[in-house]
Each structure stands twice: as structure tokens, then as C-alpha cells.
Amino acid sequence: MNALTPFLPTIAALVKIGLLVGGLMTAAAYLVLVERWMAAWVQDRKGPNRVGIPLTKIRLFGLGQPMADGLKIIMKEDFTPRHVDKVLYTVAPLVILAASLAIFAAIPFGSVLPPLGIPGLPDPVPFLVAPGLDVGVLWVFALSSIAVYGVLLGGWASNNKYGFLGGLRSSAQLVAYEIPLGLGLLGVVLAAGSLKLDAIMNAQAESGIWYAFAQPLGFLVFFVASFAEAARLPFDLPEAEQELVGGYHTEYSGIKLLLFLVAEFLHMVTAAFLIVIMFLGGWHLWGVTGSGQEVTWLGALVRFGVLSAKIFGVILFFMLVRWSWPRFRFDQLMNLAWKVMLPLGIANLVTVATIEEFRPQLVAALGAGPAAAIALAAPWAVFFLGWIAAGMLTPSGTDNTPIRTHTMLDAERSLRGQDLVEV
């Protein structure tokens, strides 16, 4: 036992990684089934309900469908077109999947286990692969920006115009929406005073006020930006089927396509994790989970269940939105990012910073209760003001009549630099 002690943290980390990766992969497979059920429900169909236990007649509501789907796509021919750039064509799906899995090193998937009493392990054991990382939020941000490479390289290496257009659209979209995403994150980081995601959850549990209530504007901005970062409808321009066939993964098939699809699903799961952890209180639920760091085994399980239920709820919302909204046009997408989301994000950040700066003075002048009420009311006032401003100025409103600033003849004139005879 003594010989094993120095390796215990490594073993614990490996166990957590195994649980997390296995859980995520299974969850991704079954979330596809949930998404198909949701689609069927919205469209008034029955959806996949036939596949059950193989070689028997037992159907089990179609719960065998993910296995059948996975088996089918893995057994398909892994066809590589001759015109692609072979190295980057192979690397792109690996990059995107590796990045979207590595994000979870810094994302807690529960609260803490009760003390195990094993020497060499930290007590209590956190539900987090890398508890020593002091910059968890930034780690998530960094790796989600690495995922852009997978999309961009996949599109470029395919050497196909649809793939290329999808890759370009996608990189422009992801780069644009990283800014409101970061502004939404910053408000929470300022209020919690830490870049660790578990510390952010603890701060919400201690005060009992989730940041969705304390920073409604930041919640809105972050929510919309994370839809765009996950490239879900209404922001699924990178792979708009009606225009781009399949976008950046048009040329992919078999297991490589599977890697892309799993990575896309993981982006959605990551977004749901972040929304719940940063704005919806994480594992905290009033009157159910308690708020301290001391837990029993039952308490740890309940917290894990609350977190999972919240994440599942957010994912269901993602799926419902998919069937409720039409896709943005590209200029509308960019207008929304730069003219609406960016100013609203800055307004939220300034509000939060002002409140956090003057909170001690407020408490000293008015007492704790009124100060907390003001700190809660001011962001809501800013939220409604921002809403009204965005509605009145309509910076994202677009005139859909064709704009003819100059005719083809003018264009040709300016190209040749000479006068043409008008015919």
C-alpha cells in the first residue's frame, strides 16, 4: 500500500478521466436518440422506437438505436477522396474531438465526495479531473478556440467548395461569438472572484442567488453566444444542409464523420455544462442540496443528480430551439454578434464591475439587506434598458430589398478605369 501511495493522485485522475470520457461518449450516443425523439415529437411523428435487444423481439422504446447507429457508421467504408490533402484531412477530426474532450479536464461534474480517508488523496475528493488548475474558465475558453482548427482544416483539406465555404463561415462565426461569450464569462468571474468553475458554483451555493438572477443580461448574452459557439440552429450556418450539402464535413464518411458529429454534440454538452455551472447554480438547489463543503454520500449523489438534471434540461432546450427557429442569414448573424451582443455584454460587465466595486460602501451605508436588494435590482434595470434600447435601435434589423448602389456597368467602368458607352 505504501508503494502505491505516490501514484494515488495519478490513479484517481485516471479513474475520473475514464468515468468522464465513458460517460460523455455514452451520453452523446443517447442524446442523439433524444434529439431524434424530440424531432419526432415536434413534427408529430413516432420517431425511432423499434430497435431493442438484438435477436429478440423486445423493443425497449428504441433504446437500442444508438448501438445500431454507431455500429452502422463505424462499419461504413472510410472513403478518402483523391483530391484531398491527406494529412490535414486525417488530422482535422482528431483535433476537434481531442479539443472538445480535453475541455472537460477543467469542468466539474459534481460537488465533492465525502472524505475517503485514503492517505495520499486530497480530502474531500472533488468531482474534477484537474483540481489544481487555477484558470479553469480560461482553459475551457482556450480549448474551445482550438476546436476552430478542426472545422477550418476539415473544410480546407477537403478541397471542395462546399466544405471550404462551410469552414470559412464557421471560423468567422466562432471568432465573432467568442467575444460576447468571453464578456458573459467575465461578469461571472468578477462576481465570484475566481477563475475556477467549482469556486464559481460554491459562490452561488453560498449566497443562494444564482448568477442568472444576479446578471440577467450576462446570462442572455452567454446563452446566445454559446448557441453560436456550438453551431446549433439557429446558428448552424457552417453546415447548412440546404446550401452547403454538409458544410465542412461534406467529404467525410465513416469513422471520421463520426468523430466530427460526436465533437459537435460534445460542444453542445460543454455549452450546457457551462451554462448550468456559471449561471444556474451548478449542483445547488434551494432546500435540497445544502450549500457547504461537508457532504454525506447521499448528499454527494443528490448534488450529482441535481447537476445532471439541470444539464439535461438545458440540452432539451437546445434541442427544442432547433425545431422552433429558422436559420440566420450570414449578415444577420454578424449584425447580431457585433451590434447587439457585444454592446449588451459590455453593459453587463460595466454593471457588474460597478456593483462589485461599491458593494462594501453600500453595505456600510445601508446595511446588508438593502445593499443586496440594490445589487440585485440594478442589473435587472440594466437588462430592461438594454432590451428596450436594442428593440428601439434595431441594429440587427435588416432591409431585405436588394440594394443596388452601383450597377454592373459602373463596376466594369471602375475596373477598366475608362468610360464605357452605355447601351
Binding site: V135, S145, I146, V148
Partner: protein
């Protein structure tokens, strides 16, 4: 006499050999007119030899640590940096450079500078390099022009780079091999043990009064808690003017970019207006 870790007589020739091998390998590998596979193989072999010699020399100079992770990430950084400059395709060069940044971020993480490591990825790999790739992919749909495929002055650049590398590693080795100056000077950080827990303005003012940065640095455990908070205190206390100046500079650049774009639009409008005026007169 006690054996010092720094022995210039033994490590000097090794370092010189490494520098020469680096120069020759870079010269052979850089994209230029005479590209043969034998030259490339020779260049690769020379480069690997130079790398091994550098590691050996660094060991003797005391500049290279023992940890396996550090060795791996730094090798990734160095090899991919070399691949960045010798690769023929700009897109591949950009990808290699991304790998270089990942290696550098790994080195920073191993050294305990978590914020710097992650910020390197966010800023360089996540934003700037993606923009580069974007432009590269847009700019060359029909393949490379001939002048894109050769490097200017491969000999001089290889020579200059190798000499710079040698001089830098020699001086760094000398610094790390010299009897550490920190032990002679009473360290301020040990005198104020609460510095780690109070990352506020008083720490910053403490640091401003500290004369030499190196006298503070070794005593602080970089992996301690509140890493980011202390970095923030340092940035907005001691280096406040530099941070503000950089912010103003970026703002100026932003406004300049907007001004350039709007001027371009105005010029376009002016170029389009004569014909508009004429057609209106008709």
C-alpha cells in the same frame, strides 16, 4: 576545488558543434532553389544531431531540467518551430506554428505559469493564428506563386539564427550555473510571508520598493494558490503604467483601423460618384 556545474572548456566545443550543425541543417532544409531528397535527409539528420547536442550542452550548463514532461513539451516546441520555417506550404507552416504555441504553453504550464500558458493559447493560437489561416486559405486558391516557395537569403538567416541561439544558450547557461545571487541577498518575499495570501495593493507597493525582481522571484512558489490573483495584483500595481499604455495603444490601433476602412469606403464612393453624376445629368 569543488566541481562547478558550469565547465566552459567541456561544454564550449559541444555548443559550438551544435550551433554549426543547426546552421547547416537549417540551410539545407530551408525552401530554396536546390531541393533534393538527399539534401533534406541530410538536413534532418543534422538537425536531430544538433538537437541532441543542444540537450547535452544544456544539461552540462545546467539549463535543462530533468522532468520528462518538460523535455517532451520543449522538444515539441523546438521541432515544430523548425518545421514552421522549413515547410513549403504556408498553411502547413501555420499549423506547425500552432503546435509550437501549444508546446510553449506546455512549457509555461510545467513551469507553473498557468495564466500565461493558457493565455498564450487563447490569444495566439485561438485568435491571431486562426485569422492567419483564414487569410491564407482565402488568398491562395490556385496554388503558390514561385516567389512564395523560396526563402530569401537562406544562408544568412540560418547563420544568424544559429549564432543567436548559441549566444543565448551560452549566456543563459552562465546565468543558471553561476552561484545563485538570491541566497546572498535577504529575500523580501521571505521577510513578508503574508504576501501570498494578500494579493492587494500593499503587496504591489512592497514589490515596487523591492529593488531587484530576481530577488523576489525564487522565493515565491509559482504553483501556490491564488496564482491569477497575484498576477493581477502585480500587473495592476507595479506595471500599471505599462498595462494602461498597451491598452491605449490597442485603442489607437482600433480607431486607426476604423478610420482606414471608412476612408476606403469614401474613396470608393468618390470613384463611383462621377458616373452617377453624369447619368443623373443625362
Amino acid at each position: 576545488m569543488t566541481p562547478l556545474p558550469f565547465d566552459p572548456l567541456a561544454s564550449g566545443p559541444l555548443l559550438a558543434g551544435a550551433v554549426v550543425a543547426t546552421a547547416a541543417s537549417l540551410w539545407l532544409l530551408l525552401p530554396n532553389g536546390r531541393d533534393t531528397s538527399s539534401a533534406r535527409w541530410l538536413g534532418t539528420l543534422l538537425g536531430l544531431g544538433a538537437l541532441a547536442a543542444f540537450i547535452l550542452a544544456g544539461r552540462r550548463l545546467g539549463g535543462v531540467g530533468e522532468e520528462a514532461v518538460f523535455l517532451i513539451v520543449s522538444l515539441v516546441a523546438v521541432v515544430s518551430a523548425a518545421a514552421t520555417i522549413v515547410s513549403r506550404s504556408p498553411v502547413y507552416a501555420a499549423i506547425w506554428f500552432a503546435l509550437t504555441l501549444a508546446g510553449v504553453a506546455g512549457v509555461l504550464l510545467v513551469l507553473g505559469a498557468q495564466f500565461l500558458g493558457v493565455a498564450t493559447i487563447v490569444v495566439y493560437a485561438g485568435a491571431i493564428l486562426v485569422m492567419f489561416l483564414f487569410v491564407l486559405m482565402l488568398a491562395q486558391p490556385a496554388g503558390l506563386a514561385p516567389y512564395d516557395r523560396v526563402s530569401n537569403e537562406p544562408f544568412l538567416s540560418a547563420l544568424a539564427g544559429a549564432v543567436l541561439l548559441g549566444v543565448l544558450s551560452l549566456s543563459i547557461g552562465r546565468l543558471s550555473a553561476a552561484p545563485a545571487p538570491c541566497c546572498g541577498v535577504p529575500s523580501r518575499a521571505t521577510a513578508t510571508p503574508t504576501a501570498g495570501t494578500q494579493p492587494s495593493s500593499d503587496v504591489a507597493s512592497e514589490s515596487t520598493t523591492a529593488t531587484v525582481a530576481s530577488s523576489v522571484a525564487p522565493a515565491i512558489d509559482p504553483l501556490a494558490e491564488n496564482h491569477v490573483a497575484r498576477l493581477g495584483g502585480e500587473l495592476f500595481g507595479r506595471h500599471l503604467v505599462a498595462v494602461e499604455a498597451a491598452g491605449v495603444l490597442l485603442l489607437v490601433a482600433l480607431i486607426g483601423a476604423i478610420a482606414v476602412v471608412s476612408r476606403g469606403e469614401a474613396a470608393q464612393a468618390a470613384a463611383a460618384s462621377p458616373s452617377a453624376g453624369r447619368s443623373a445629368a443625362r
